[in-house]
C-alpha cells in the first residue's frame, strides 16, 4: 500500500468537506502528520466535542451549547423582546450581530423554500415561528431572508400567516451595496433603490 491506512482515512475524511479536493485533503493530512502533537490533539478534541456539546435553542433554533435550552441572545435581559428578525441560517445571525445595530431576538428558519429543489414549508421552522408569536408580546417581525427568488418566496409565504396574528411585518430594504457600481446593477435593484431613496442628512 502506497499510503498507510490511518493517513488515507484522514485524507478521505477531509475530502468529504465542501470545497476540499483530494490534493488539499492530502496536504492538510500531511501537515498534521508533520506538525506538533498539540495541533492534532486540539483539532481532534474540537471535532469530537462539536456535535456532542452543541444544540439548538428551543426558541429561536440558533446554535448554542448543549447544556442550555435557550441561547444567549434569547436569555439576554437587555434584548428587545418585542421584535424578531427571521433569518435563513445561523451564519446570518452572526452577520447581523456583527453590525451591532439590532437588539431584538432572532428566529432561524433552517433553510429557505425552494419549489424546484423540493424544500417545503414543513422542512422549515415556520410553524414554530407562528406558535412562538401567538399570545406573545411581539410587535414586529423583520423578514431577513436573502433577496433571492427563494428568499422572497419564503417571505411571501410567511407574511400572511404573521399578519393574521396581528404583528407588523417588515422586510429588509434592498438597493445598492457600498462600493457598488450603478452601471452593473440589475434593473430590479436599481428600481428598488430609486423607490427607497431617502432625504440626505
Amino acid at each position: 500500500m502506497l499510503i498507510p491506512e490511518p493517513v488515507q482515512k484522514l485524507i478521505d475524511g477531509f475530502s468529504r468537506l465542501p470545497g476540499v479536493g483530494p490534493k488539499t485533503a492530502s496536504r492538510l493530512t500531511f501537515y498534521l502528520l508533520r506538525g506538533s502533537e498539540d495541533l492534532a490533539d486540539d483539532l481532534s478534541e474540537a471535532l469530537s466535542s462539536l456535535k456532542e456539546n452543541t444544540g439548538f435553542c428551543e426558541q429561536c433554533f440558533n446554535i448554542t451549547t448543549a447544556d442550555r435550552k435557550l441561547c444567549e441572545i434569547c436569555t439576554h435581559p437587555e434584548r428587545d423582546q418585542e421584535i424578531i428578525c427571521v433569518v435563513e441560517e445561523p451564519l446570518d445571525v452572526i452577520a447581523l450581530e456583527r453590525t451591532g445595530g439590532f437588539h431584538g431576538l432572532y428566529h432561524v428558519l433552517d433553510g429557505v423554500l425552494s419549489p424546484i429543489e423540493g424544500v417545503s414549508p414543513d422542512d422549515l421552522k415556520i410553524k414554530e415561528l407562528i406558535d412562538r408569536i401567538k399570545g406573545s408580546e411581539i410587535k414586529e417581525i423583520i423578514l431577513a431572508t436573502n433577496p433571492s427568488m427563494e428568499g422572497d418566496a419564503t417571505a411571501m409565504f410567511i407574511r400572511p400567516q404573521l399578519e393574521s396574528e396581528g404583528v407588523q411585518v417588515t422586510r429588509l430594504a434592498r438597493g445598492l451595496p457600498v462600493g457598488g457600481d450603478l452601471e452593473y446593477a440589475d434593473q430590479n435593484t436599481l428600481l428598488r433603490a430609486l423607490a427607497g431613496r431617502q432625504n440626505m442628512g
Binding site: P115, I116, G118, M149, M156, F157, P177, Y184, N188
Partner: protein
C-alpha cells in the same frame, strides 16, 4: 480549441441555481444557441456581485461564457427581462418553477439543440409574467414541449387497437403513451379514465397556436383533471417525481384558506 469555443455569447433563461463553494453559484441554463448547459457564476453570493441580480432563476439574460476546466464560467451578464411581476406572486413562482423543472429534467446538458424549445420557453415565461391565463399557459407549454422532445402523447387513435377515437369518455394509459378506447381500456391495468372534454382540450392544445388555445373556456374540474393526468404522464416518462407540483398545491391551499377566512 477555436476562439468560438473558448468564449461565446448566449441568450438564455435561468432554470435554476445551486450554491457552490464559498460564494459561487452554478446555473442551469436553457440557451438559444446550445440548448441546456451549466455555468458557474463566481462570487454570485457576495453582496457586491455584479452578476448576481442578472442571473436569478426565471430571468431572460444575455451571457458571455468562457470555457473553464470543469464548467462554463459566466464572464458577463445582462438581464433582458427579470420577469419581476411573476416573482411577486407565489402561485406564479410555482408555475414558473414547474416550467423550469420540467425542461431541466427532460433535457441533458449539451444534448441536442432543440431550436423550437427556446422560443416556446421564452414566450411561456413572458405569458406568466403578464399573467395571461396561467393554467392554460402551463398546459399549452407542457403539451407543446412534450411534442418537441419526442414524448407526444397519442390522442387521435387508440394505442391498443389503432381505432380512431370517437367523442366519448375514454381511458388513458401513461405506459402506452396515449388514449385507449373504452372497449380496450376498461379491463387494461394501469389506465385512468379521461373525460371527453379533457381529451378535447389536450387535442386542441396539441394542434393550435397559443392565441387560439386561449379561447378555451375550461372549468375548474377539467383543469384539475388535466393537471393530474399530465403530471401522471410526465412523471412516468421521467421515471421520477417533480418537486414543484407539491409547492404549487401548498401555495394554492394557503390562498384558498385566506379566501375563506372571515377577514
Amino acid at each position: 480549441m477555436s476562439q468560438r469555443d473558448r468564449s461565446f455569447r448566449v441568450e438564455a433563461i435561468v432554470l435554476k441555481h445551486t450554491e457552490f463553494g464559498e460564494a459561487d453559484r452554478i446555473l442551469s441554463l436553457y440557451t438559444r444557441e446550445r440548448g441546456k448547459l451549466r455555468a458557474m457564476v463566481k462570487g454570485a453570493r457576495k453582496v457586491r456581485s455584479r452578476k448576481a441580480g442578472h442571473v436569478e432563476p426565471f430571468t431572460l439574460v444575455t451571457l458571455q461564457l468562457a470555457k473553464g476546466r470543469n464548467w462554463y464560467i459566466v464572464t458577463q451578464a445582462e438581464a433582458k427581462n427579470t420577469h419581476q411581476a411573476l416573482r411577486e406572486d407565489l402561485e406564479s413562482i410555482g408555475y414558473a418553477a414547474y416550467i423550469a423543472e420540467l425542461l431541466d429534467k427532460f433535457t441533458y446538458d449539451e444534448g441536442h439543440e432543440h431550436n423550437a424549445i427556446y422560443p416556446l420557453l421564452v414566450k411561456t415565461f413572458d405569458r406568466l409574467n403578464r399573467d395571461i391565463d396561467p393554467q392554460i399557459t402551463v398546459r399549452y407549454y407542457e403539451i407543446q414541449m412534450l411534442d418537441l422532445l419526442g414524448f407526444r402523447p397519442e390522442l387521435q387513435t387508440c394505442v391498443v387497437s389503432d381505432d380512431e377515437i370517437i367523442a366519448q369518455d375514454q381511458f388513458f394509459s401513461v405506459s402506452l403513451g396515449g388514449v385507449v378506447s373504452p372497449e380496450h381500456g376498461k379491463n387494461l391495468p394501469g389506465t385512468t379514465p379521461i373525460s371527453v372534454q379533457a381529451l378535447k382540450y389536450l387535442r386542441f392544445f396539441q394542434r393550435s397556436r397559443f392565441q387560439d388555445a386561449l379561447i378555451a373556456n375550461i372549468s375548474p374540474e377539467i383543469h384539475r383533471e388535466l393537471e393530474v393526468l399530465m403530471q401522471h404522464y410526465v412523471t412516468y416518462q421521467l421515471e421520477r417525481g417533480l418537486n414543484s407540483p407539491a409547492f404549487l398545491r401548498r401555495v394554492r391551499h394557503q390562498k384558498e384558506n385566506a379566501k375563506n377566512s372571515p377577514d
